[in-house]
């Protein structure tokens, strides 16, 4: 995992922004927290979607499930009545958690959310990877919708009326900073895990599956195992960040937990915008997308969806490989891609002559 100067500079800049951003602009702390969350979503989506060519539209499932699992853990660990009694009281019971109880509950909740997300992805893997191309995409979207619908039939977690999350034991500024740090930290961990992962045989196997899965099978690559691992990693992080997002929101229901038309689609759009199948594409895409989204929400209200749609159209029509892909074609030498300038036919003859 050697880094060149350019990469170090990029990390330095991002770290500086990550640390100084919320200090200099405290009113934007939560907005920047969402920015990191979107970087995480796009990056982990790309493991399966970009690197392996399996366009999942259902990764948001793990986000929602993680959110609910965390809520269950946080409440039932320290409230004797359990989640059932808590939710059936429709918010009239507000148990006071001590700070220690709250943070323990949150920590365990996030961990449980990640683990359940991962386990769920393994269950899905057992039948979903029989599908390829658009069938996988639509199938995974179906999963997200189905899980969301099943969730609201479960009275134990409040059914359609949702759950009020435990109150944060601290003032509002500390609350923002705390959740900001969680989002930032998870994004950093996921980024470096993926960075390492793509530098191993795993990265090559993923790309081989993307380029020609039948060939990969014929060469003996255990493709199913790689796909499983790729989705499991995404599911773990989506579960964890879902737990964090639920606590940031303070109240969770179907719309908050399974935002299929927004985050569910955004994460794909961001990866496509930045350039799928690259480490930095989803990061870049998420940053640009989020900035445009926030700016249009503020200054172009009512036209925000038009603006986002416009970006997507320009992206899909003119930059199908995304920004990183476009840069790679335009300036290949920047990415260490070698362009053949010799005459290929000429070279053949030489090889034979040798």
């Amino acid at each position: 995992m050697s880094m060149n100067k350019k990469t170090m500079f990029t990390y330095g800049g991002l770290a500086l922004f990550g640390i100084l951003g919320p200090m200099l602009f405290p009113q934007y702390t939560l907005s920047i927290a969402y920015l990191w969350m979107m970087v995480l979503m796009a990056s982990t989506w790309d493991t399966l979607g970009g690197q392996m060519g399996y366009n999942s539209l259902g990764n948001i499932t793990f986000f929602g499930v993680g959110m609910y699992v965390s809520a269950i853990v946080q409440i039932s660990f320290f409230y004797d009545g359990g989640v059932g009694e808590y939710t059936s009281a429709m918010g009239s019971i507000k148990p006071e958690f001590t700070a220690a109880e709250y943070f323990w509950g949150l920590g365990l909740g996030i961990l449980a959310a990640g683990i359940v997300g991962l386990a769920l992805s393994l269950v899905f893997s057992s039948f979903m990877f029989g599908l390829r191309g658009p069938y996988f995409a639509i199938g995974s979207l179906g999963l997200a919708i189905a899980v969301a619908e099943v969730t609201i039939t479960i009275d134990y977690v409040g059914g359609a009326s949702g759950i009020s999350m435990p109150l944060f034991p601290g003032d509002i500024e500390f609350r923002s900073t705390f959740f900001y740090i969680l989002c930032f930290a998870f994004t950093i961990v996921s980024h470096f895990l993926l960075r390492w992962l793509y530098s191993t045989q795993f990265g090559l196997a993923a790309n081989a599956i993307r380029d020609d899965e039948d060939k990969a099978e014929a060469m003996g690559i255990p493709t199913l195992a790689y796909k499983r691992i790729g989705w499991a990693i995404a599911a773990f992080f989506m579960g964890c960040i879902g737990a964090v997002a639920g606590n940031m929101a303070g109240f969770i229901d179907k719309e908050v937990a399974y935002p299929i038309p927004t985050f569910g689609i955004f994460m794909v759009a961001m990866a496509l915008l930045g350039g799928k199948g690259t480490l930095w594409g989803p990061v870049l895409g998420a940053i640009i997308f989020h900035v445009v989204k926030e700016a249009t929400w503020t200054y172009l209200l009512n036209l925000q969806w038009v603006a986002l749609g416009l970006i997507l159209i320009i992206n899909i029509v003119y930059f199908q490989q995304g920004i990183m892909g476009w840069l790679k074609t335009k300036y290949p030498e920047l990415f260490g891609i070698v362009v053949d300038t010799s005459n290929i036919a000429d070279d053949d003859e030489k090889e034979v002559a040798r």
Partner: protein
């Protein structure tokens, strides 16, 4: 060294009403180079597909090193050490040549940890060495999809060698390659067989190539096994000449 590494007995395969293979039996001896010839559409590629597990066979038995494999899947058979190349060359076209080679390492002893090994070191050295063997060293950092068709064929062959198979099934290795390159390829096939000890089974239309290369040749016609024998025997077999050699 004369026992059969691949033993095919009475294998039949139909697609709908088309009987692609009818009661085919053949043997590939360990360490040999075996040829399969026959007119277009006679069922050669179907036979290959049956052997490597691309589709279930209708009846018969296929053994690899004495083990029944007709019920196994493609990946399982590949991990036993039997690989095939494709008539329509298949490589990972958006990756560079070295990466194509590196991911083609043998997955026979795959464990969770070997999925996450670094790409540097021994694997990379072997990849570069074999690219040199295939005459592609100077192209090693190019995106493989940008190579000429002939070079892609060589790359696919080198990828197969990287996998260190016991047996390699080659589907028309010289199709679409210019005549000068063909000689280099024949030479490399022979060296792979002699130096690396890889058993080869080759489908080929180029008579000059297969008659030079193979020790034993099977000739298919209309899904049936027509004849088999040494190259010179087949060249003088009237049935083969009628079905194939005289056919054009």
């Amino acid at each position: 060294m004369s026992e059969a590494i691949i033993q095919v007995d009475d294998v039949s395969k139909s697609y709908g009403g088309v009987k692609a293979n009818v009661d085919i039996s053949l043997q590939v001896k360990r360490g040999s180079i075996t040829g399969i010839i026959g007119p277009n559409g006679c069922g050669k590629t179907t036979l290959f597909n049956s052997i490597v597990g691309y589709h279930p066979i209708d009846k018969g038995s296929i053994k690899f090193e004495g083990k029944e494999i007709s019920h196994l899947l493609v990946g399982d058979i590949a991990r036993l050490g039997m690989l095939r190349t494709f008539q329509q060359t298949r490589i990972y076209s958006k990756m560079n040549c070295v990466d194509n080679m590196q991911i083609s390492v043998s997955h026979r002893a795959e464990s969770k940890s070997s999925m996450f090994v670094s790409r540097k070191g021994e694997i990379r050295e072997r990849a570069e060495h074999l690219l040199e063997f295939a005459g592609l060293y100077s192209k090693r950092n190019l995106i493989s999809g940008d190579l000429s068709f002939g070079q892609q064929k060589l790359l696919e062959f080198a990828m197969a060698l990287m996998n260190e198979p016991k047996t390699l099934l080659l589907d028309e290795p010289t199709a679409g390659i210019n005549p000068t390159l063909i000689n280099g390829l024949i030479d490399r096939l022979r060296r792979a067989n002699e130096e690396l000890g890889i058993t080869l089974c080759v489908i080929e239309h180029n008579m000059r190539v297969i008659m030079n290369l193979a020790e034993h040749i099977y000739c298919l016609s209309n899904g049936h096994m027509l004849a088999n024998g040494k190259p010179e025997e087949l060249q003088n077999d009237q049935r083969v000449i009628d079905a194939y050699l005289g056919g054009h």
